[in-house]
């Protein structure tokens, strides 16, 4: 059920990209200068970040972390 809901969420966000209702309109200008279509897609970008946060929280492939120990001792200090 969780998998289904997550896939549904991804599909909804994908579908929301096609904002045909904003196609021919410039107004309202968000913050006084951002045309509606541009403001919508700026907001959409933030929603995508939110979607990824949800996926990290609920669908993270935790089993892959078992591989982390391999070569962990190879660290040459590159990372932060």
């Amino acid at each position: 059920m969780k998998k289904f809901l997550l896939f549904l969420l991804i599909a909804l966000v994908y579908g929301a990209h096609q904002d045909l209702w904003n196609w021919n309109k410039a107004e309202p200008l968000v913050c006084g200068f951002l045309p509606a279509g541009l403001a919508y897609h700026a907001g959409y970008s933030v929603v995508c970040a939110g979607l990824m946060a949800v996926l990290v929280k609920f669908a993270w492939p935790k089993h892959l972390e078992a591989e982390e120990d391999r070569g962990a001792d190879k660290d040459s200090g590159t990372g932060s």
Partner: protein, 526 residues
């Protein structure tokens, strides 16, 4: 003069960072190509982002917005905000685990092992390399053009840095950085570069808005109120078919060899967590100001000769010289950040997938393999530089090639998905998809050079009810089914090839399937 001094100071910083990385390096291929798979989470994000952002994100996006309006953001940027992090999340993490477990350093080495194939892996390598080369050439061309344009003296209109010198500067700095520092040098430099070009858009908007004679809302109102320019603040001239087709293009990202290599290089899989969440925001931070300023450029400057130079023109007219220099360095960062990864990826592929695979490593040893890789980096950059010089006037051809390369890599993504998630997939399915993609690209190029805009290549039916299956759209690009981009039939065809040819042929040995599917690299069976 001041912008040139600032840019050369920036290049000196890059060279300095690269030299420190060189001192930290070890003499083996895993360290040279993947920094010993030790890249930490913040560095991983900054470097992965730099890998994928080219000068197009700054100059091309503003130029396209100048021509076509604000819809460019939704079409090219916000679709990437969704698709790229998703592919990194689902595919990148698996690639990382396989690399860690089985030592793969390239996509092809994974395909060869996963499907027990040899020459089919070589075919995938050949197609990937062929699609990557124009990308490298255009990076050098872009760098040369930016250095030339930014060093133009406003009074005499002469440029301090000629185009050949600009290309040579970019090529030498990138080559030196990759040659000496390998992946470690590249990612360290990326930290500095990514921060610089992430700041670029915000600073540019702030400075330009302050200097423009009217406010942003006045300009937008002016554009919206004029029937001739209203399309710039709406999408009324943007076909919805093209807008949707573009959502498939970001599938290419994970198939770019340099992106996959970055996924192999992370120290921990948890590095992907922060990356996938921050990625859409980072895209927005770069693209939104650039697209907005591109539209502003139309309103403030009117018709200009070179729309791709609109941002440089705005900087030139509305920001102090020293700031224009720093912002120019931001643009050069985007050029060099991705170019360095492309050069490194080409070198890795040749060294691992050809040189080592066909016995070079056994014959010459690990130490010599690193020398081979370094030699290859020099050769490939010199060739790319010479092509950039000789074919400067034909830059448009390379731009088209890059555009089709995006479709090509996107159409190869079903091969990767099948390898990772479909046990029944076979090498013949992979080969069929690869050949289909290569044939489609060649066919598209032939059609585009042999026909003119508006020509119908294949239609079903006649009259106004006819379905134009393939035709050349008004810009001269091949289009599909009344207006969709060719990436649509390419991805669909590739999926079909993988499915049909896999089902019709024998799968790999049970042991091989178990090796890949019964390990921690895949979701445990539920």
């Amino acid at each position: 003069m001041i912008p040139v001094i600032v840019i050369f100071a920036y290049l000196a910083v890059i060279a300095f960072i690269g030299s420190i990385a060189y001192k930290r390096g070890k003499d083996n291929t895993e360290d040279f190509f993947l920094a010993s798979r030790s890249i930490g989470s913040m560095v991983f994000f900054l470097s992965l982002f730099a890998t994928n952002m080219t000068a197009f994100a700054i100059l091309g996006s503003s130029g396209q917005a100048y021509r076509r309006g604000i819809g460019i953001y939704g079409m090219m940027a916000s679709s990437s905000c969704l698709v790229i992090p998703l592919t990194i999340f689902f595919i990148g993490t698996r690639l990382w685990a396989l690399g860690k477990k089985f030592g793969h350093q390239t996509q092809v080495s994974f395909f060869r092992d996963r499907w027990e194939c040899n020459h089919i892996g070589t075919a995938i390598f050949a197609l990937s390399a062929a699609m990557l080369v124009p990308y490298m050439i255009i990076s050098i061309m872009g760098g040369g053009t930016v250095l030339h344009d930014i060093s133009v003296n406003p009074e005499t209109h002469d440029s301090l840095i000629s185009y050949p010198l600009g290309c040579a500067t970019v090529a030498v700095v990138v080559t030196a950085n990759v040659f000496f520092g390998g992946m470690r040098g590249t990612v360290w430099v990326n930290i500095f570069q990514t921060i610089l070009f992430l700041l670029f858009g915000l600073v540019a908007v702030a400075v330009i808005s302050h200097a423009l004679p009217l406010g942003f809302s006045d300009y937008i109102g002016k554009l919206a109120g004029d029937e001739k320019s209203r399309f710039l603040v709406t999408r009324e001239k943007m076909p919805p078919q093209v807008f949707w087709s573009y959502t498939l293009i970001p599938l290419s990202s994970i198939m770019f060899p340099h992106m996959a290599m970055m996924c192999f290089s992370a120290r921990r899989v948890t590095a992907f967590k922060r990356t996938v969440i921050a990625y859409p925001i980072a895209i927005m931070v770069i693209w939104l100001p650039c697209v907005f300023l591109g539209v502003m450029g139309f309103a403030a400057l009117g018709k200009i000769q070179d729309p791709d130079g609109v941002l440089l023109r705005l900087l030139h007219d509305y920001s102090p010289a020293w700031l224009a220099g720093i912002l120019g360095a931001g643009i050069i960062s985007a050029v060099m950040g991705s170019d360095a990864h492309q050069v490194l990826a080409m070198s890795t592929m040749f060294t691992k997938d050809v040189f080592a695979h066909y016995g070079g490593r056994e014959r010459f040893g690990e130490h010599r393999a690193v020398h081979f890789a370094r030699g290859f980096i020099v050769v490939v950059t010199v060739i790319a530089y010479l092509v950039a010089l000789r074919l400067k006037e034909k830059q448009g051809i390379f731009e088209i090639a890059v555009r089709y390369a995006f479709s090509g890599f996107a159409a190869l993504s079903p091969v990767m998905v099948a390898a990772l998630f479909w046990k029944r997939s076979t090498k013949w399915g992979a080969l069929a998809a690869t050949l289909f993609v290569a044939a489609f690209l060649v066919w598209t190029a032939l059609m585009q050079s042999g026909h003119k805009a508006g020509d119908v290549l294949w239609q079903i039916g006649a009259g106004k009810d006819a379905l134009k299956v393939f035709f050349l759209n008004p810009t001269g690009d091949v289009a599909f089914c009344n207006g969709y981009m060719t990436v649509v039939p390419m991805v669909l065809g590739s999926i079909l090839c993988v499915l049909l040819f896999s089902l019709a042929t024998r799968p790999p040995a049970r042991a091989t399937i178990d090796k890949y599917f019964a390990t921690t690299a895949f979701p445990p069976a539920t």
